[in-house]
Structure formats: C-alpha cells, structure tokens
Amino acid sequence: MKARGPTWLLLALLSLAALPLGACSKRESDDCGPSERVVDPVLLAFLSQARSAHHLADEREAKDDVAGALRALQTLTENAKPPGDAPEVDEVLADTRARIADLMSRSGRFDQAEEEIDAGLENAKAPSYFRGHLFEVRGQIEERRVKALRGTGRGQEADQARDRSLGAYEEAMKIQAEVIRAAAPAGSASPK
C-alpha cells in the first residue's frame, strides 16, 4: 500500500514526460525540425496558395494587368513561410521570384527584378533547375536592360549590362549541366 503513491507518481511523471513527444509529431503547428516533419496539411496549404497565386497571375497577365499579376505573386513571397524547412517551399518561392523578376523587368524595373533574383537564389542554393532558371531569367533581365539603355544612348552601361547577361547565361548553362550530370547515374527520374 505504501508503494502505491510513488508508483502512481512515477507513472504519472512518465506520462507527462511522454506528452510533448506525442504532441510534437501530431500537431500541425508544431515545428519539430525537418527530420521530424512529414508532408502535412500546412505544407499543402502553402502549395495550394502558390498554385492559386500563379493561376491568378496568369489571368491578370492575359489582360495585360502586370501590376495585378505581381500583386498576386508577391502575396506568396511576402507572407511568412510555413514552419520547418520543407524544400518544396523554397523551390516554389525560388520559381515564384523568378516569375516576379521576369514581370518586373518587362516593365523596366530592372533593379527590383535583380533583387528578386538575389532573394530567389537564397531559396535555391544548391544546383537545381530552380537555381539554373533564376540565372536564365537574370540573363533575360540584363538583355532587356541593354535594349533600354541603348535606346537612351547609354552605350557604356549597356555594354556592362550585356556582359552581365552573358555571364548569367553561362552560369545557367553550368548549373543545368551539373543537374543533368547528377541525375544521370540515378537513371534520370521521369516526370509523373
């Protein structure tokens, strides 16, 4: 009878100690670190939001509403990222930033477009199609800048922009080659 109190206490303490472990793995809002996370509704909500934003941007682009398209895409990049370090989130953000940069450069906002590319490269640090694509878009941005500068008689700045454009395309080619080389031994994963 005397042992019952301490036994209960021990069991209860063990239960209490186990509680946070269970909660960590089961609650949506918990950030348990990348190794503990699984594909969950929070990640899906973000991906769904991204999908909607791009469809909205398509519609607005089709109506020549570039500002509206940018607003739709920027809601994605300016909001807080979902908890955890899901690679999908960074890849989607990198791709979205590439599109934002492309749209900005089409309306002559070259410096802002470059900032988007820099931010996108932070999302895609390892060699991947996402990173390669960002460099491709950078090359396009600088090409457009070249045309704009030449149109205003600023030849020297245009030449510098042309060099940056070529450098970006070269970097893109290098990254794509790396990606292809890395994929080759694995048997080139096919799209679903």
């Binding site: 109190g5 209960w8 206490l9 209860a12 303490l13 239960s15 209490l16 186990a18 509680l19 472990l21 269970g22 909660a23 793995s25 089961k26 609650r27 949506e28 348990c32 990348p34 190794s35 996370r37 699984v38 594909v39 969950d40 509704p41 929070v42 990640l43 899906l44 991906l47 991204a50 999908r51 791009h54 469809h55 941007a57 398509d58 955890g84 370090d85 899901a86 690679p87 999908e88 989130v89 890849e91 989607v92 791709d95 590439a98 599109r99 492309d102 991947s128 199609y129 996402f130 390669g132 694509h133 491709e136 878009v137 396009q140 990606v179 080139s188 994963a189 096919s190 799209p191 679903k192």
Partner: protein, 205 residues
C-alpha cells in the same frame, strides 16, 4: 393431361377474345368509369374509421390484460419496449435512487475523523490525479488530432512521406511561361503524398 399438353390446347373463341381484350387494356389503358373506380378503391382499402369488429375487440382486450397483468401475448414485448422511454421510473429505478440517497445520507452523517489529514497525502494524490487526467486527455484527444490534422510521424515515420525536393518531378530546363504548370504538378504530387500519409497514419494499407 400433362401441363405441356394443356398449354398446347387452342383457346376457345371467348377465351381468345378475353385475352386480346386484356392485352389491349394493358397496352392502351382507357379511363375507368367513376363508379367502377370507387368500387375498386373500396374493395382494396379498409375504412380506418370503421367501428371495430368482434375479433378486434377480443384481441385488444387480450393485449391490455397482457400489458397490465403480465400475461403472455406476442405483441406485449414490443409495446413495452416502445413505452419504456416515456414511462415513469420503475421500481428498480426508485430503489436505486433510494439506495443512492441512503449512501449520501450515511456519508454526510458519518463522524469526521479527528485526525488531521496529511498534506502529503493530498499533494501526492492531487498531483497524481491531475497528471493522470492530463495523460488521459492526451490519449483521448491526440488520436483525434492525428486523424483530422497532420499524420503522425512517430510510429512509422519511415513509412510516411517527408518534405523533399521536387526536382525529380522535372527532367528539363524551366521555361518562365510554364511556372503555373510546375506549381500544379508540385501541389498535385504533394497532395497525393499527404493522402498516403493519412492512410498510413490510420493504418489503411
């Protein structure tokens, strides 16, 4: 005469005429005369407000006796079961209530111990109760959370799909014009992964 031979016999002229009339009526029904219609309805339905027959009176008396006195009747059980939820508490219920009140009265009237209870006992049992209650609540609510929300990652974490790069979904360099299609593919693929995780968490093979 066998059935086959009977079936092979030719119909008489009258039988044939009746058969043709029946087939014609089935194929192209005509409107019934009003009096015929009324007679057909009367023969098909019984008047629900008609006075009870002698047989019905006897049967209802038997059922009433069965319910009041407990004598056997095939419908007594069903009627008793239907009546039970609306009836007053039975003797058994009254007895149970009386027993409960007696216990309460006895507890209230019992002399209180002169010995001051130990605070340690209160603390141990109080804390134990609270913690056990918390553990019970966790057991009760966490499975529900796992079903409605994120799949559990602890049990078969290896079987659940974790976030991972979407690069294997793509085999060619990206075009800016295809960004939306890439978003569609990523969202759809991870949607399937989430569904698989839920099934795995629920133990569905």
């Amino acid at each position: 005469m066998s059935q086959a031979e009977e079936e092979d016999l030719p119909l008489s002229a009258q039988e044939e005429a009746e058969l043709l009339e029946a087939l014609e009526a089935a194929l192209r029904p005509t409107e019934l005369a009003e009096d015929v219609n009324e007679r057909l309805i009367e023969s098909a339905l019984e008047d629900p407000l008609a006075p009870p027959s002698e047989e019905e009176l006897v049967e209802s008396a038997r059922l009433r006796d069965a319910l009041e006195q407990g004598s056997p009747h095939e419908d007594a059980g069903v009627l008793a079961a239907l009546r039970a939820p609306f009836s007053e508490p039975s003797d058994h219920d009254v007895g149970e209530a009386a027993a409960l009140s007696a216990v309460e009265a006895a507890l209230g009237a019992a002399p209180k111990s002169e010995r001051r209870p130990s605070n340690v006992v209160y603390a141990v049992f109080g804390a134990s109760s609270a913690i056990v209650a918390a553990a019970a609540a966790a057991l009760l609510f966490l499975p529900a959370l796992s079903k409605s929300g994120a799949p559990a990652a602890s049990a078969d974490a290896g079987a659940l799909v974790k976030p991972h790069s979407t690069a294997p979904l793509f085999t060619d360099r990206f075009e800016t014009g295809d960004t939306t299609a890439r978003m569609d593919l990523i969202a759809t693929t991870r949607g399937h992964d989430l569904r698989d995780n839920r099934y795995a968490a629920w133990g569905v093979p």
